[in-house]
């Protein structure tokens, strides 16, 4: 049991490239129904909630929208947080820019610099945006918004470009190849040990970093500046 998750990650690696899954657990999952509790959802019920979209385009609703249409929607619904050009107001997420910054001391992870799939932008916006008014726009409006966000990132260059359910999944993102499967079990193999050191493990140590010198621990009377997570 204890080693299962580590082994599982290896299995996952296999799955990602199409190796068949463990036959035993598949067979086990096929038994039933045993309890007959609950009912089948109607097609209408499924249609209303089935809003996810995959990189291969599965799940994209019929619809279309242009960059220019998206720009207007963005100004009305999004720019107060994300800025007119996706630069992000205050601590709200930056949507554009950051190209070439991933190896720098201050990586700026945006749709253009980091996100691997354009479909993810559609899936996320359709799930969660506009912030505070989620799932309120039409499919056409979501296509238009995604088109504008891709335009802000120079992934689409023509203002009149129309994004739709036929061409969104084919839109390649600059950082698609920027990801690797979790490799901690091999890259960090040295963290597994038989007998951890107990005595004289290091030479004399000195304090090299102090939280009180940074002085950003919560305090009602003053603000602080971020160097951490968003």
């Amino acid at each position: 049991m204890s080693k299962l998750p580590r082994l599982l990650s290896l299995v996952m690696l296999g799955l990602a490239i199409g190796t068949p899954a463990l036959a035993q657990s598949k067979a086990d999952a096929k038994v039933g129904p045993k309890y007959n509790i609950g009912r089948a959802p109607t097609p209408e019920e499924i249609r209303g909630w089935d809003i996810d979209v995959r990189p291969d385009g599965q799940g994209l609703p019929e619809g279309k929208g242009t960059v220019a249409e998206g720009e207007k929607l963005f100004m009305d619904n999004c720019s107060s947080c994300h800025g007119e050009f996706g630069e992000g107001n205050g601590r709200w997420p930056v949507l554009a820019g950051g190209k070439g910054s991933l190896t720098s001391d201050n990586p700026v992870k945006t749709v253009g610099s980091y996100w691997p799939y354009a479909t993810t932008v559609f899936d996320y916006i359709r799930h969660a945006m506009p912030y505070g008014n989620a799932e309120s726009l039409s499919a056409n409006e979501y296509y238009a918004l995604v088109a504008y966000v891709l335009y802000l990132n120079d992934i689409i260059s023509d203002q009149n470009f129309e994004l739709n359910n036929k061409n969104l999944a084919a839109t390649k993102m600059p950082n698609e190849q920027g990801f690797i499967m979790d490799d901690r079990s091999t890259a960090e193999r040295s963290f597994w040990q038989t007998n951890p050191c107990m005595k004289d493990c290091l030479g004399p140590v000195k304090i090299t970093s102090r939280a009180m010198a940074i002085d950003v621990t919560p305090d009602d009377s003053k603000g602080g500046k971020s160097r951490g997570v968003e």
Binding site: D52, A134, T208, A211, S221, G228
Partner: protein
């Protein structure tokens, strides 16, 4: 002592108050403070007068003297409280169970206040029998009870570049551990009949972020739970009432709250939360994806910056927590000298699979400064690395999965600071 007597003081003075109190108490032979009129040989008011009767407090809460034991947030971390985090006050807690009202919160669209009569869980996609369930129907399925820790992958994420936040509530407080009651996800997937092509699940919440994540079928069929109770009572709204997913040992973001939908598919979805977020950027510009498991980690919860040593030298208890997403713990060691020498800690209470474990190290403190550390080894042999060892492989920009060894500097006056050593 004036600072500790004022309930309106700021959080910073709260931290400072611990140190002030330590100094005051060191000077006092009695070492207890308070009001002498209530202390021997006198008889206090609560002994002379009847108190509240039963049911005056139909739902109990902690003593008013425990008012500082609360979740806190770090305002500068996020743009709004609806998409933000509050931290568990680990420095005030003991044992391994987190009280429901103190479990850290992480929301992406605020707390959904759901009427259970209107909540539905839909299971569809690559299944033989799509299902839609009410809460009452879910409760008719066989139940399981499991105690598990749940840790946000970004716990300690603010510490990658050095010691930053001065308190284990802030450095390590994106974790909690409760007993869940619910239905094994495997039971429901068997009821729905997963097709042989079904390899991944999309799990999705009903909140204003409709959080969605991909979960591999092996994990779903292994030990996941759809929980509706925590520590015996209904899930709290901020923890996903009326139902949430429990993914033992894996990053908290997968534990979708307000769970409304499970869709079985043949490939992962690569949602925003598993691409833009919860991927670990490495120095070469590549990022690890699907880094689900929370590796072994430990922290001394007391003494710590918010819980200084107030009693001066003498018999001293070091209390801490350790956990591993890979199973049970094998051992915890404690260092008093910044990691040069280690002594075995005493594990006390249950040692459970993918749950918090409490450890103690008791010793006679001579009053000299200490550099306290704890280090856990889990049953797979994994030893919690130092922060330097982590940075050597991961750099400082990966945000997530910072499980490096924490150092607390205990000064002679008992005050404690978050530091790093080399």
């Amino acid at each position: 002592m004036s600072k500790t007597d004022n309930p309106q003081h700021s959080r910073r003075s709260l931290l400072a108050a611990g140190a002030g109190a330590a100094a005051t108490l060191l000077a006092s032979r009695a070492g207890a403070g308070g009001n002498p009129a209530n202390q021997p040989p006198n008889v206090p008011e609560w002994t002379r007068v009847l108190g509240d009767g039963v049911a005056v407090r139909p739902y109990g809460k902690p003593s008013k003297f425990e008012k500082d034991v609360i979740r806190r947030d770090v305002e500068w971390l996020t743009a709004s409280r609806e998409s933000s985090v509050s931290f568990t006050p680990l420095h005030e807690l003991e044992g391994i169970i987190t009280p429901n009202g103190l479990c850290f919160e992480r929301h992406h669209g605020g707390i959904a206040e759901i009427d259970p009569a209107d909540h539905r869980l839909m299971i569809h996609g690559l299944v033989d029998r799509p299902l839609i369930l009410t809460l009452e129907e879910l409760k008719r399925y066989p139940r399981v009870n499991r105690i598990h820790f749940m840790e946000c992958a970004a716990n300690s994420g603010m510490e990658w570049r050095g010691a930053q936040l001065n308190g284990c509530q802030f450095t390590h407080g994106m974790i909690h551990c409760v007993q869940y009651t619910g239905v094994s996800l495997r039971t429901l997937l068997e009821e729905a009949g997963v097709k042989s092509s079904g390899k991944w699940l999309l799990v999705e919440g009903a909140d204003a972020a409709a959080m969605d994540r991909s979960l591999p079928i092996e994990k779903a069929l292994d030990d996941c739970i759809i929980a509706y109770k925590m520590n015996g009572e209904a899930l709290y709204p901020e923890q996903g009432y009326p139902m949430r997913l429990v993914v033992p040992g894996w990053q908290g973001n997968l534990w979708v709250k307000w769970l409304r939908r499970i869709k079985v598919g043949d490939r992962p979805w690569h949602t925003r939360e598993e691409t833009s977020k919860y991927t670990d950027l490495l120095p070469n510009g590549k990022a690890r994806r699907f880094s689900w498991v929370m590796d072994a980690k430990s922290v001394i919860t007391s003494p710590s910056p918010q819980a200084p040593i107030k009693h001066g030298k003498g018999f001293t208890i070091i209390s801490g927590l350790a956990w591993s997403g890979n199973g049970k713990l094998k051992r915890v060691d404690v260092s008093l000298d910044g990691g040069r020498n280690w002594r075995p800690a005493r594990l006390d209470g249950p040692i459970l699979d993918k749950a918090l474990t409490r450890f103690y190290y008791e010793f006679d403190w001579n009053g000299e400064p200490l550099l306290l550390q704890s280090r856990v080894q889990d049953e797979t042999g994994y030893v919690q690395p130092s922060k330097a060892e982590l940075r050597k492989i991961r750099g400082v920009n990966s945000i997530y999965h910072n499980n490096g060894i924490q150092t607390w500097h205990v000064q002679a006056n008992g005050e404690v600071e978050n530091v790093e050593v080399a």
